[in-house]
């Protein structure tokens, strides 16, 4: 028998559903849902699970590409083909809301969750990156966020044993109450060993593997689907999950062993909406049903209601489908690894998912009714351009005073939290485990990770610039893609595809929705232009408090291939006497630069100069430079402009530089402006003429800027100290805010 139906519209509203959605549920079920069934709809139709306000736009993104092995949404993560029959599985996810109220656990479980998305395909994770954003670190709450998030990422990733190899850390007052924490995982699996999240016939045993189920993370998905309320932090804490990297490590090892022996038929990780989501998703993808016995689920807490078991977001769990006759062998493997595998149900022919407690039927739903893009609603919300866009369009560069002393500006920027050394953070992350991180030894514009048992490497980036996107969501997101691609090319990599994590405010605010729609369109146009497939992604709305939304922040994860691995380029200056070239258009662009925002305090200005045709020619030029003998270093110019790029190239091997140029534009724009489509190159003197000829061939302007020295630094014939001086400043920026 089924629990009596007794829910009302008010109950639906309490789950965050609208009256229209309530009507839709009645229609889809053909009856009134009971409380457990309504809970399923409440969570599965939350923004976090069903992407109801974003899916329409996400479907406009290009997915085609010769390397694509799985369509977005079809599997738990994007899958791209690599040489030698291997595949790369990668995805980014946000853990913004939990990190805001419990930074350590929020970040740790974010890392654990994204790794599960990867190894649920049978892939072994080989790298993780993260993009983390906080308020200014001299303030107490952002510092608490920073310290906790970094420690959470470190403790989880280090113990789990996956190198944390890159990403970004940025600070802006807008993230004071709403930190943005995105994590990306990248794994490798032989193409013929990919585990799918679906089956083709009924009869398989459904089991829950890993940690027991507890009351942590209840309604986590619902929590992530509304604004953060600063007066509700205590009440929201139970929505935060608790992570245990050791349990995840043994779960991974047990799964790899069971897969090695051919026991795993299908698998789905348990993340948002836990057991409910994982069972419904596999059933829906398989066009089959399931009977699940909740009284068989191993519990951590004695008294748990059926709906709590269904919706618990306890970590380190997997839903695994096996053949019935393999049960004994599978359980032996999991027990040996000091974890467990418990059968809780079966795949059925009847296409409904039924949840039982003993003989009592607790709930019965058609799985497709709850799925994103199927039963779940899809909305296009109204949008309008925000008023601040007018201020941005009328910005006049000449109103910005030219500082008397540019060296002082350089000192300010070198120590600025957004531009200084990340070492106090990255030294807390194990970034060398698994032996593949080549960028430890050859610093580059992206992380370079050798793929085990091959002669090639992946180049990985995870980036975004909230200021550019705020200035112009369409162009800003174009630039994000362009810069990621430029980073990969400067590393010697051929870009293969992207994933993304779209961090925005409340989609019911028309100006936030305007930012979102324009950003997605910018991403789509950029990816179509460069034939980059978007393999998947994640949307995090509601990053706002009473004080307003965050700066819009699409984070792009890009994967490229370096084959052979020796094609890798470094960004580091190598030898005194090498010539330094600035390649790309010189523009008087101050727009949205760190210099303009944080030195002059101007928060509203256009994005920096960007022309995608020039950018594309530059990309072709960089590829031509891969083969040019004598090239010593390639480095993208981005945040902090030419000055930051010079220091980043000089610091690794402690070289200096003498630079000089014809002043055609204001010198602050030349040194600190962030005009796009530029790179910094160092080259042996005898090869310089070939470099210039190559630039001419691709119609890209260049400036012979100067020479690499053994440590001395001169700018426009003025003494600017030595590399030791600047290294000390560069390393001091974040030190006060993190333990060392």
């Amino acid at each position: 028998m089924t629990q009596p139906a007794q829910t009302t519209l008010d109950d639906a509203i309490a789950w965050g559903l609208t009256p229209q959605e309530w009507q839709r549920i009645l229609q889809l079920l053909g009856r009134t849902p009971n409380p457990t069934e309504l809970a399923l709809f409440g969570v599965m139709w939350s923004e976090h699970c069903c992407y109801k306000n974003s899916l329409y736009w996400l479907k406009t993104l290009p997915r085609e590409g010769k390397a694509i092995l799985a369509q977005p949404g079809e599997e738990n993560a994007g899958i791209l083909a690599l040489p030698q029959g291997l595949a790369c599985v990668f995805k980014v996810e946000s853990h913004n809301h939990p990190s805001a109220i419990a930074p350590y656990q929020g970040a740790a479980t974010g890392v654990g969750g994204i790794h599960r998305d990867i190894f649920t395909t049978g892939a072994f994770p080989i790298a993780t990156l993260n993009a983390i954003h906080f308020g200014l670190p001299h303030e107490e709450r952002p510092r608490w966020h920073l310290e906790g998030v970094v420690r959470g990422i470190a403790d989880y990733g280090n113990s789990f044993g996956i190198p944390t190899v890159g990403g970004q850390t940025l600070f802006d007052p807008v993230f004071t109450e709403t930190p943005i924490v995105n994590a990306m995982s990248v794994g490798i699996v032989p193409q013929d060993r990919i585990i799918r999240a679906r089956v083709h016939q009924p009869g398989y045993l459904v089991g829950i593997a890993g940690a027991p189920t507890g009351k942590d993370g209840l309604r986590g998905a619902a929590f992530a689907s509304r604004n953060l309320q600063t007066d509700r932090r205590q009440e929201d804490l139970p929505a935060v999950q608790i992570g245990d990297p050791f349990l995840e490590k043994v779960l991974l090892e047990a799964i790899l062993e069971a897969h090695q022996k051919g026991y795993i038929v299908a698998m789905q990780d348990m993340g948002a909406a836990g057991l409910a989501c994982s069972t419904l998703e596999i059933a829906a993808r398989s066009h089959l049903g399931m009977d699940i016995y909740l009284n068989h689920v191993p519990l951590r807490h004695k008294k748990m209601e059926p709906w709590e078991i269904l919706l618990s977001e306890s970590q380190e769990r997997m839903l695994i489908l096996i053949r019935e006759q393999d049960l004994h062998n599978v359980q032996k493997i999991f027990t040996r690894w000091e974890t467990q595998f418990t059968p809780i149900g079966k795949v059925t022919q009847r296409p409904t998912v039924r949840y039982f407690w003993g003989k009592t039927r607790i709930a019965e739903v058609p799985p497709t009714a709850l799925m994103a893009g199927q039963g779940a609603p899809i909305y296009r919300r109204p949008w309008r351009e925000p008023h601040y866009q007018h201020t941005i369009r009328t910005f006049q560069e000449q109103t910005i005073p030219l500082p008397n002393n540019l060296k002082e500006v350089a000192e300010f920027l070198t120590q600025h939290p957004n531009l200084c050394s990340r070492e106090p953070i990255t030294r807390q992350y194990d970034h060398m485990i698994q032996l593949g991180n080549r960028s430890v030894w050859f610093p580059a514009d992206s992380a370079v990770i050798r793929v085990p048992q091959t002669q090639y490497a992946l180049a990985l980036t995870l980036d975004g610039n909230p200021w550019y996107v705020h200035a112009d969501p369409y162009i800003g997101t174009w630039i994000t893609i362009a810069e990621a691609r430029r980073n990969l090319l400067c590393t010697g990599a051929e870009p293969l595809g992207i994933t993304n994590c779209l961090n925005f405010g409340n989609p019911y605010d028309p100006t936030v929705y305007w930012q979102f729609v324009n950003a997605v369109q910018g991403m789509g146009d950029a990816c179509r232009y460069w034939h980059l497939p978007v393999t998947g992604g994640n949307v995090s709305f509601y990053n706002q408090t009473e004080k307003g939304p965050i700066l819009p922040l699409p984070i792009i994860g890009m994967v490229g291939l370096i084959q052979p691995i020796t094609r890798q380029k470094t960004l580091a200056f190598q030898n005194p006497g090498d010539l330094i070239y600035l390649i790309g258009p010189t523009s008087s662009s101050l727009g949205s630069s760190q210099y303009l925002i944080f030195y002059h305090g101007i928060r509203l200005s256009p994005p920096p100069f960007f022309d995608f045709r020039i950018e594309d020619r530059l990309h072709q030029l960089i590829q031509a430079l891969w083969k040019l003998p004598g090239i010593q270093s390639l480095h993208d110019i981005s945040e902090g402009g030419l000055w930051s790029a010079l220091l980043e190239a000089a610091i690794p091997l402690q070289k200096g530089f003498h630079i000089q140029w014809e002043p055609t534009i204001r010198p602050d724009a030349f040194l600190f402006g962030e005009g796009q489509s530029r790179i910094l190159v160092s080259i042996q003197p005898e090869a310089a003429s070939q470099l210039e000829a190559t630039c001419n061939r691709y119609q890209i302007p260049f400036i012979h800027l100067g020479t690499v020295t053994s440590g001395d630094i001169r700018v426009q014939n003025q003494n600017w100290e030595t590399i030791q001086y600047w290294t000390q400043l560069y390393q001091s920026g974040l030190k006060p805010y993190l333990p060392s």
């Binding site: 420690r151 470190a154 403790d155 280090n158 113990s159 789990f160 044993g161 245990d244 990297p245 050791f246 349990l247 490590k249 043994v250 090892e253 040996r336 690894w337 000091e338 990255t426 030294r427 807390q428 992350y429 194990d430 970034h431 060398m432 485990i433 698994q434 032996l435 593949g436 991180n437 080549r438 430890v440 030894w441 050859f442 050798r450 085990p452 048992q453 002669q455 691995i565 993190l738 333990p739 060392s740």
Partner: protein, 242 residues
């Protein structure tokens, strides 16, 4: 040629790295040994068993505090008595200290944080591990939260007399000074051995600078090559005392 074993505990995470360097880079014969079994797969006198880095059993109580009770520990004791060699790296070093194979203890870094970085380390003494290492600073990365070596003054005096210190943290030009000490270890100690010179523990990870395809100057490879050369050259000198 010695044979090699790598012990796996639940939570070990540098086991695959050691297998890669020994098996793929150095083309050695490597056995995987499960912590829960006493079987050493025929490894004996002159062979080497490595305890890898990681977080055995999650390291929740104290690093190595649970692993020391694993059934394999008793087999390792007999293996050493019978003329075998044991090397614990990072978590392996912590386990060997907890289990009483090595003197001293590894406590929380002075910084209180995990530290992962390239690190210069000076080989010291004439052990089979360091005998054929060049006497210069080697670039051997560290990655640990609990790597601060502590030992009482009495024991330290004894260890020095017995040449039981095998690695010390140093500067790029090989000076063993406080500023080169990453974690607050007593006298910059990065690695030690037991009185007979058969059980070794070190916090730095030689395997992390050992693959020529990734690292430009694989100093870590020298450590394994030094072992091989010791074994080959001095095999006859190893005396089995029991």
């Amino acid at each position: 040629m010695p044979r090699w074993g790598v012990v796996i505990y639940p939570g070990s995470n540098c086991d695959r790295d050691l297998v890669h360097v020994l098996g793929t880079v150095l083309r050695q014969d490597v056995e995987l040994l499960w912590h829960g079994e006493g079987d050493l797969r025929g490894l004996g006198s002159g062979d080497w068993i490595l305890l890898p880095g990681g977080f055995s059993f999650g390291d929740y109580l104290r690093p190595g505090a649970i692993a020391r009770f694993s059934p394999i520990m008793e087999s390792l004791r007999r293996f050493v008595e019978g003329g075998g060699y044991v090397l614990g790296i990072c978590n392996g070093f912590q386990i060997l200290c907890e289990a009483g194979f090595l003197p001293g203890a590894l406590v929380r870094n002075l910084s209180t944080t995990f530290i992962c970085q390239r690190q210069y380390v000076l080989p010291v003494g004439d052990s089979v591990l360091t005998r054929y290492l060049p006497r210069r600073a080697l670039d051997l990365p560290i990655a640990h939260s609990d790597g601060r070596y502590y030992v009482s003054e009495d024991v330290l005096r004894q260890m020095k007399k017995n040449n039981q210190i095998v690695f010390q943290y140093c500067t790029e030009d090989g000076r063993v000074v406080e500023e080169a000490n990453p974690n607050g270890s007593v006298e910059n100690i990065a690695g030690v051995c037991d009185e007979r010179g058969r059980v070794f523990g070190m916090m730095p990870h030689p395997e992390r600078n050992a693959d020529p395809l990734v690292c430009p100057r694989p100093d870590g490879l020298l450590v394994f090559q030094s072992i091989l050369r010791s074994v080959e050259t001095d095999m006859g000198v190893v005396s089995v005392s029991n």
